[in-house]
Point group: C2
Chain length 561, copies 2
């Protein structure tokens, strides 16, 4: 019996590792499954850490989804916490393990090894980075330290404007701190395009966060009196009581590298669609691997819990399949086909979400694309409480295939991005979006849901019924800008040089417009400009529409255009 | 010029008719477009009527999305309200029109005619149905009458437990009335299966609505003192101040029938996928047509605003295509491919939604299907405020194709049904649901979203990893019922005859279980029973799982099983 008992060793016990272990047990009651975790906790909810710091989640116990004891009782899985794996001997199929509490080292053999070693936070290499009062947020102990520090602090400085940086800003403001956020790039939330990320930046400013974009830290020093002070690339000196650094992560692939496993250009472990490395007995999952972007086909790092969990499930399935069918040429029943990069973040009540590729990413990948903007209400306007959703949809100009979507608003954002992400998983087009049959009652949506509308605007464009001008050409264009909103709306604020001729008057006055000059139309959100386009085009004028109207213009301006 | 000017006449100016008119104008600036509406309003939001009655929507003006004047100014579309079309002369391509204000009749010729005549409310044929104080809710004037009546009423009786009946119950309770709801069937919300509709029934009871299922009205009389009294099929006499009848609608196809257009067995106009009737110059859209169910392929009546709007768009596109290419054999660029029947309703803060076919419908259509139940939280359990979503997923046992889904809960319901509806539009399977990459942050979802989980449970089942017992066999089964929850949970309430053996003790005690007898496992929601199944099956026992656990058991019991 003992000789046939297969041993699965898993290095790392958070999202991907824990999922893999539990799935392996469900598939194999007789396997020996052992998890080694360097930290003190397994399977904890790291996405909840900022909210634990902010006392939204009141107890750290809530973050502990499981513990070594429950893994043992429920799954008969051995979990060794505070235990580091220091070496992989691929030839002997053996790892070296060190108990961090005792310092004692031992060897463990495996039939299958899973690397779920996660990611390391990027470190800022500036003078003073090791001073007390500077924190990162990756673990429960990290969050305890920040909580303790924040309790006596008045000012906090956050370095990095990614998801965690924004969530930390909100939570530290919630604790009553004055918060400054520094970001090296010209925008927050790098997965989004700048004009969409600008809504989140605006929300932060509106809630008192001092936002400093395009600015780097050059040095950190002890403040002469108390706390810290930071010198920046713009020559400023900022005083603060504590600093939280959240400038992204990189794969923790040291063990894999030392073992000679194939890594990708981004430093993550290279795996096939069954999460197997170039060693036939080693799999890898979670933040430590590189994954294929479903849209661009490029390798990418996507340190998110959802993909990590699915990868753990795929790897366990592949391992048991390998045990059963190693000599045959059968494919495992589950595969990991890549990521869209769906992500979501809340900032002071504003939801920001994205799926698929951003415009930046498409441009970098050299892909052909079109884009539309729209700003529909999250439910029917006649029902009280409708909030706008600012949407950007990216799609192939060739065949309408969906390439990406970004949305921002106070309500209904996750739902629309989830719908578009679902459509993207089956390679759907903007024409498919038009036809979706989604939930409608007045408090839940509209007869034409925002997701339908996004498809319709893009579909109209691709059918040639709605030629679009590009906002980025606005400054250089020689086209006539025609604002078809009411006189009152126009007077309240308009693009410099834009003429006003309300939609309602166009039928009688279109002959006043030049026949030989290109005309770019805009209105509030795009709908009236579309109507105006149809009218003017059929009267022989050369017309295009600025997608998303004044709302999008404002977003472009806010993005520092 | 005049001789080439095409005339499009549209009968009915609410959802489908108004959409068709506006789209036709966008496609053709030179066409003459005329809408005839029998009622006083065009393009009003009839889905909002219950909320206007309940003062949630404060002004009837909010419900008026457009009016004849705005149609004229914005779209150059003539709208004649309070104007009835009394006859169609297909041979002469001419209709007879009567101005209801003056009684004057005139003739109008058409190149294309669109029937958007909508639906008529079903009438109850019982004695006394024409007494004062008995209302239907189809129009804004109807809602004014009900509001006026409710202002002096203490008790209201609603006949019919469909979407409108439930919305009316909530709104009349909100006005302080004692509300009784009578429904002939044994469940409310007929598009759902009884065990899922039961959650809505429970919510109504909890909010003081007196719910009487399986009971019909046999007569209505004047109450000896004041108000009305109703006699029921159970021999009861119920006093009430007002009655709202909402027992469904039927296509208002009288004009079409009289004109000899082809109707279906359900009384709706038969159209092709371009919404054209069997007359090449007549199209029909909205509640008056029959549509194909995408899942069962059967003809169906789906009186919902979303499909009506899309049909209007399709018909307008087809008409302009017909004008341009009548002599050629080209297909119009937009088609209406059928309906899923996605629908949603809120009852006292509980959301109930459905898409695709119900189990009842699948059984009636003789289709092969499997089903799973689950009860995941609407977001991560470690973030405060997670609410359960009760889900039922229906799928093909052959290939896993999604056939239908129903969900009930306080939050996140529309989102999951929309995701599944989107997946169904591309004929996705439960295996595709497993892989969806959806929005996850602690306040928005989970690393395994409820939609993923639904796919995983069904996928596990179809891969043979999770054989399911059928709840409807529970009463007759000779299987051993094994409850794997904790002793404490078991003691608090369990299925009669179920034995208790907690999951945590199964590994050491499974030898106590009979080897030769089928064992049906259940727990709280299904997860632990799945783990127990994997363990026991691998130890050679004959095991199945009762999907959804005690939560589903409770729902079946509540449904009067």
């Amino acid at each position: 019996m003992t000789s046939t008992k297969k041993r699965i060793l898993i290095i790392g016990g958070v999202a991907g590792g824990a999922s893999c272990a539990a799935r392996a047990r469900r598939l194999c009651e007789t396997c020996e499954i052992i998890v080694f975790e360097r930290g003190p906790h397994v399977s904890f909810a790291n996405c909840g850490l900022p909210y634990f710091v902010g006392n939204v989640i009141e107890s750290a116990d809530k973050l502990l989804i499981a513990n070594p004891d429950s893994f043992k009782r429920r799954f008969n899985i051995e979990v060794h916490v505070e235990t580091e794996v220091t070496h992989i001997d691929r030839h002997a199929k053996r790892i070296e393990v060190r108990d961090l509490k005792t310092g004692i080292t031992r060897q463990e053999t495996y039939d299958a090894l899973v690397l779920a070693t996660g990611a390391q936070p990027n470190r800022l290499s500036v003078p003073g980075i090791d001073l007390p009062g500077i924190y990162m947020l990756r673990t429960i102990p990290d969050s305890h330290k920040i909580k303790a520090s924040a309790a006596n602090a008045k000012q906090a400085l956050i370095l990095g404007g990614g998801f965690i940086g924004l969530e930390m800003a909100e939570n530290l403001v919630g604790l009553g701190l004055e918060v400054t956020l520094l970001e090296l790039a010209d925008q927050v939330l790098p997965p989004l395009d700048p004009e969409m990320a600008g809504y989140a930046a605006g929300q932060m400013l509106a809630h008192g966060v001092r936002l400093r974009l395009g600015e780097a830290v050059t040095a950190i020093e002890q403040h002469p009196e108390q706390g810290l002070q930071v010198r920046t690339s713009k020559g400023e000196t900022l005083a603060t009581d504590l600093i939280v650094v959240g400038i992204g992560v990189r794969p923790d692939a040291a063990l894999a590298r030392e073992a000679g496993l194939e890594l990708g250009a981004l430093g993550g472990i290279r795996v096939d669609e069954y999460m197997r490395s170039n060693d036939p007995c080693i799999w890898a999952v979670g933040d430590v691997v590189e994954v294929k972007n479903r849209i661009t086909g490029e390798w990418q790092l996507v340190p998110l819990a959802g993909p990590a969990n699915r990868q753990g499930r795929v790897a366990a399935t592949a391992i048991l399949h390998h045990f059963a069918h190693a000599s045959q040429n059968l494919k495992p029943p589950l595969a990991f086909e890549g990521v869209l990069g769906t992500a979501i973040c809340e900032v002071f009540g504003l939801t920001v979400a994205t799926t698929g590729a951003s415009e930046k990413l498409l441009r970098r990948a050299g892909m052909n694309y079109g884009k539309v903007y729209l700003h529909p209400g999250h439910h029917a306007s006649y029902f009280p409480g409708a909030k706008p959703i600012h949407m950007k949809l990216l799609f192939s100009e060739t065949d309408g295939r969906l390439l990406g979507a970004q949305a921002v608003g106070e309500a209904g954002v996750a739902r629309r991005i989830d719908v578009i992400a679902t459509a993207m998983m089956s390679n759907s087009t903007v024409f498919d979006l038009e036809e979706l049959e989604l939930c409608y009652a007045p408090q839940f949506g509209a007869a034409k849901d925002p997701a339908n509308l996004a498809g319709m605007v893009a579909g109209n464009h691709l059918r040639g019924d709605l030629p679009l001008a590009d906002w980025s050409d606005l400054q250089d264009t020689r086209a006539l800008l025609l604002d078809v909103r009411s006189e009152q709306e126009y007077t309240a604020g308009h693009i410099p040089n834009a003429l006003n001729l309300p939609l309602e008057n166009l039928r009688e006055r279109h002959h006043e417009l030049p026949q030989d000059k290109e005309i770019w139309l805009l209105c509030g959100v795009g709908q009236r400009a579309y109507y105006a386009y149809r009218l003017l085009m059929q009267n022989g004028l050369k017309v295009k529409v600025l997608s998303g109207g004044m709302q999008t213009y404002q977003a472009w301006m806010d993005a520092g255009w």
